[in-house]
Amino acid sequence: MPDIRVRGFAGGINSPNPFWLASAPPTNCGEQIMRAFDAGWGGAVWKTIGEPVTNVCSRYSSTDWQGQRMMGFNNIELISDRSVEINLREMAEVKKCYPHHAIVASLMVESTREAWHDIVVRAEDAGADGLELNFGCPHGMSERGMGSAVGQVPEYTQMITEWVKEKARTPVLVKLTPNISDIRTVARAARRGGADGLSAINTINSITGIDLDTLTPRPDVDGKSSHGGYCGPAVKPIALAMVQQIMSDPEAALPLSGIGGIGSWSDAAEFILLGAGTVQVCTAAMHYGYRIVEDMAEGLENWMRSKHFATLEEFRGLSLPHVTEWKHLNLNYKIVAHIDEQKCIGCDLCHIACWDGAHQCIHMDRVTGPVNGHVELHPTPAMIEARSRRSITSTPVTRKERALVAESHGPYPTPLSRIPRVDETECVGCNLCALVCPVDECITMVRVDNGLAAETWEQRTRGATCPEMSMMPDSNRHFDHSAEKRD
């Protein structure tokens, strides 16, 4: 049985599993957090405690995509609108009832040493297992000099982290904002300030959309809207990239709680493979409720079992060595697309995608005879469509006509004329066709042995330390050219 417990995260936080609820509406009060723990969550980061705010309505909006609700989610809600006293009193109660679950207090107060000292002591007295400094909130609070106003300035981040560390007895996590050109600069500052760990990422500045009748962006607050924080499945790739950047940077890497679009065990596994020690979830819980954690825990255990990982630490960070700079990729690795004729359903999306969006090497020429070679040798998609629009079709009304239609198939489930063919001499192995194909395993990318030894860009240009530098003479010539023109 794989062990998914978290032990001593960031120097001392334990939880029965790595699944924490992020600081957000699902962790607004003690009653909710106790129900969440009952449902199976391993920890909760209490909705940010600070001087109570007044919220607006409405507060949320989402990006739906092709009929799927909440591919991305956006909020303009501020930190807790309940008093520090009530939040901390409830925190103490929850800690007493659930001593083995992780309770992390998310904190945000005005940027003075006294204010931070005060809130740190009070949160720890209430029983918090750790502190998360909210330097990430991108809306509302940043206008008041808090949240991402701190997290976007490395010096402020370092300074406040240092203040907190002067008092804190529990691990201190700094929550990072992605609304910055290089998240590593702030991560390094937090580390310099003495942070024990990081949480990444907070939400991304967003406008999810505009109501085309009222012309007001969503969410609509009496005819006006404001930038919100974007999260949910849409942001996962951005979060993964930032987590990888941080964890691959020796000056930034710290124990990290991964956040951003996590809704399933596989999402969680990906964050852990990039070095996260725990993960935090919000949007998925807001969409489906606390119950989603059951499958997250079970699924992670089952995957670990299939991969023979006994603990989270055994696979944490294993994908980091697989991420490298482009210049270290093998230029001689060659793959081509292969279409499984038995699986092809004849939608021909690969053909149009390759012609319009890639390298014009998937053709509809199995019946007319395969032709390999450059684009000029083939009929264009428009010619193919025009041919079929010119054909005369009539309803098969008699039994004989219907039988003829049914028998017109070739050796494959799909008529041969509709099964595209890959010209392997032109295929650049880009993956696009395999990505657009709706059928699993129908288009696979097959390795081609080109007899060439592995070679990277760096190796090929050895001696020229930086590609940009080697192109300088060219760009100089450009300048000369334009100068000539002016004359």
Binding site: Q66, G346, C347, D348, L349, H351, I352, E385, R389, T395
Partner: protein, 442 residues
């Protein structure tokens, strides 16, 4: 002139509830999003009018409903009635790649209906070129789907079209012949009204009965399109066929759709096993007949009706009598009908009666549904138009007949297919007429 309408009939609506309920707006978007947007889509190729199916479906998904309807109308001016009357199982939906994906095909018909209903509900008009953009006058004989499509295409491109119809209502079989649970007569008329608003002129109650009338049309119009359909239904050619209580399938359907038959009681026997026979049998059930037999001289596996129509009839409660033929119709003393039948078997290609298999069905209604007869000889005899096997001979691409001023399409050419086939014929003829007129003036 305005086209006539039919009175609202709530009882008819109730008896002939729609087979398929329309999609709600959200269901339509969900269904539209299922569409893979195939390249050179098989559904488009399978449609005789080549509607850009992925094109109109993606417009539904994006919320561009008007654009969706226009995309449909570009290819098929009767997109509304086709969405209801088409046997999509053997056309677009039958060709959907989803079948090979182990999924249900996209509900193309319901999506098309969704777009067209929204178009009609908003009282949108079809955009046409300004009148007299082209110096071309076309007469279309018959106001069925073929003529409507031909006239609409001619007018859309800025020429003139007049439809001449002997009946009081336009639409042909769309109005008079499609089962009410698929396409209501009112919906057919609504569609014709859209075509009228495009600028097509109509002359009603004006049959073309003589060569002189054709000659008069030739002097008034540049081209004449024959969309006259087929002749009356075939007779059974058995004794007693003339009496009250014997009504052919098309007449029965037209009569109930226009409110002339409101109820049937007792037992009805339909003779034949094509799609029209099924429509008539189902109609008899819905109009109140307790027992409906469908009599067919061949095997179950030989029936001409589509499989889904056959299944539908079974669900409506129609009972099938295979390898049985009518011999005579008599009248009982109390006024009921006695239909004498005999079992037949196939022997060397011929159907021979089985000895001692006679059986008499006591019934109240006998409905012959064994196909329509070829059209009248008038056209063949007078204007150098070839008629072969009861069908007008026309070029499949242009619809042109041997007489270059006459074009033809729909059932009178193809011998009786679907609405969508007639629309495709009419459209092709219109384009050929315009091309021919441009060559003429060039």
């Amino acid at each position: 002139m305005s086209t006539a309408t039919l009175p609202f009939d709530s009882e008819l609506l109730e008896r002939f509830t729609e087979l398929k309920a329309p999609l709600t707006p959200q269901a339509a978007v969900i269904e539209a999003n299922r569409c893979l947007n195939c390249f050179d889509a098989p559904c488009t190729a399978a449609c005789p009018t080549h509607i850009d199916v992925p094109g109109f479906i993606k417009r539904i998904a994006s919320g561009n409903l008007r654009g969706s309807a226009n995309r449909i109308l570009d290819a098929n001016i009767l997109g509304g009635s086709c969405s209801r009357a088409c046997p999509v199982e053997v056309l677009c939906e039958g060709a959907c790649v989803m079948h090979r994906y182990n999924r249900d095909p996209i509900q193309i018909a319901l999506l098309q209906r969704h777009a067209m209903d929204a178009f009609h509900a908003a009282h949108f008009d079809v955009l046409t070129a300004p009148p007299a953009t082209l110096d071309l006058k076309v007469a279309c004989i018959g106001a069925g789907p073929a003529s409507l499509a031909c006239a609409a295409e001619v007018v859309r491109r800025g020429a003139h079209a007049t439809i001449i119809e002997r009946r009081l209502l336009p639409g042909g079989l769309n109005t008079y012949g499609v089962a009410e649970y698929k396409l209501r007569a009112a919906e057919s008329l609504r569609e014709v009204d859209m075509i009228r608003r495009m600028g097509v002129e109509f002359r009603f109650g004006a049959g073309i009965e003589s060569a002189e009338e054709l000659i008069a049309l030739e002097s008034e119009f540049d081209y004449i399109f024959l969309g006259v359909g087929l002749g009356a239904m075939q007779r059974l050619n058995i004794p007693g066929e003339e009496q009250k209580g014997v009504i052919n399938a098309l007449e029965l359907i037209a009569d109930y759709k226009t409110g002339h038959i409101r109820e049937i009681s007792g037992t009805a026997v339909v003779v034949g096993a094509g799609n029209t026979a099924i429509d008539a049998a189902n109609a008899a059930r819905r109009l109140g007949a307790e027992t409906v037999y469908l009599l067919y001289r061949r095997e179950e596996s030989d029936i001409a009706a589509f499989d889904f129509e056959y299944e539908h009839a079974k669900q409506e409660g129609v009972q099938f009598l295979w390898r049985r033929q009518p011999v005579a119709i008599r009248t009982e003393q109390n006024g009921r009908l006695l239909l004498d039948t005999v079992q037949v078997q196939q022997m060397d290609g011929a159907l021979l009666p089985v000895p001692d298999s006679e059986f008499t069905i006591v019934c109240d209604l006998v409905v012959p549904a064994i196909g329509q007869s070829p059209l009248t000889q008038l056209i063949q005899d007078s204007r150098r138009i070839d008629v072969r096997g009861g069908r007008i001979v026309a070029d499949p691409i242009t619809g042109q007949t041997r007489n270059p001023r006459y074009f033809a399409g729909g059932d009178c050419v193809n011998g009786g297919r679907e609405v969508v086939d007639a629309v495709a014929d009419g459209k092709r003829s219109a384009l050929a007429m315009i091309a021919a007129s441009e060559v003429q003036y060039a």
